[in-house]
């Protein structure tokens, strides 16, 4: 347990409050000092919690980095439901770009890549795959033609993440629109 007095404005109980403080401290330190220089004791000090409470929950710094990278993309957030799959996918991809292109999150995404385990999908991929399935099923229920969820991952999510991790140019939200057009070319109306 931590021995700090927590502000009682945050929703979600004591544990959620501690998590929010730790993630905010991590994001601030990564932004200020870069990913390479951040340590668990420094995060603990900034957050006002004990280092042991961080080790207990996240295992180590790498676990904390990886979890924080995608945490703000709450898997339970409402997904776009505009009435057409094309607009849904574009809004969803723009949200992803806007989130991950923040320097701190790009940095965390790279850390998450390094930690990805063999033999299991990462949380990031699992959550995006579930969201792609939801959007595709919504469209099919309306009678719209739709690509396979795996095609959405391969041709919309993969290029965004690949460019963020391996590219030097940054990724603009407008990329979402072009990639969705290209995805729909693969999946013509049938």
């Amino acid at each position: 347990m931590t021995d700090i007095a927590l502000p009682n404005k945050r929703p979600g109980g004591r544990s959620a409050q501690v998590q929010a403080l730790v993630r905010t401290a991590l994001e601030e330190l990564v932004a200020e000092q870069g990913r390479e220089r951040v340590t668990v004791p420094a995060v603990a000090e900034r957050a006002g919690v004990s280092a042991s409470s961080i080790y207990r929950r996240w295992g180590d710094l790498q676990g904390l980095l990886a979890e924080t990278a995608t945490h703000r993309l709450d898997p339970n957030r409402p997904l776009p439901n505009t009435g057409t799959l094309r607009a849904d996918l574009e809004a969803w991809a723009r949200e992803l770009i806007e989130h991950l292109a923040r320097p701190c999150n790009t940095s965390l995404l790279k850390a998450a890549a390094a930690l990805a385990n063999d033999g299991a999908d990462t949380d990031c991929l699992r959550n995006r795959r579930r969201e792609a399935l939801t959007l595709v099923e919504q469209a099919r229920a309306r009678g719209e033609p739709a690509p396979e969820p795996q095609q959405v991952i391969d041709h919309l999510i993969a290029p965004i993440v690949f460019r963020l991790v391996f590219g030097g140019d940054g990724v603009q939200p407008e990329l979402a629109s072009r990639l969705v057009d290209e995805l729909f070319a693969i999946c013509p109306d049938r």
Copy 2:
């Protein structure tokens, strides 16, 4: 300089020989012990070179990991030239999968992701982009319709690398064929 007696069978002079010994030692240690447990002194000992010669050339362990991940994809190797872009791209993508899907190289690829610098393309992306351009230009010179090189990166290379880094399922060489089909759907004959 190193103080070892090098076998004189390897081509490329003394420096190339040292590099080959170090890379082989690294690959063996990653395969035996996992990426997390490898250290520069252990690589140096296995390779029979001094640790300082590794630090001098690669900076640190991370630099060595990142460079070794893609080193065997020699940027000067001959590229496929079968007479059709479709077959060229498929052969090129299969080669990439066969190389990067080796557990040691997947591990090194993840390390390279973590180290990718903001503001500059990684070597891996730069080399693949140049190769994509070569294959596209070859096709155009023959009068074949061809996608843009960036589309080759987004829809053929990105899904392969994304699945390798973030997915748990492994990537089979047969994926190359499906992705090339999908790429050509984006770029209809025009």
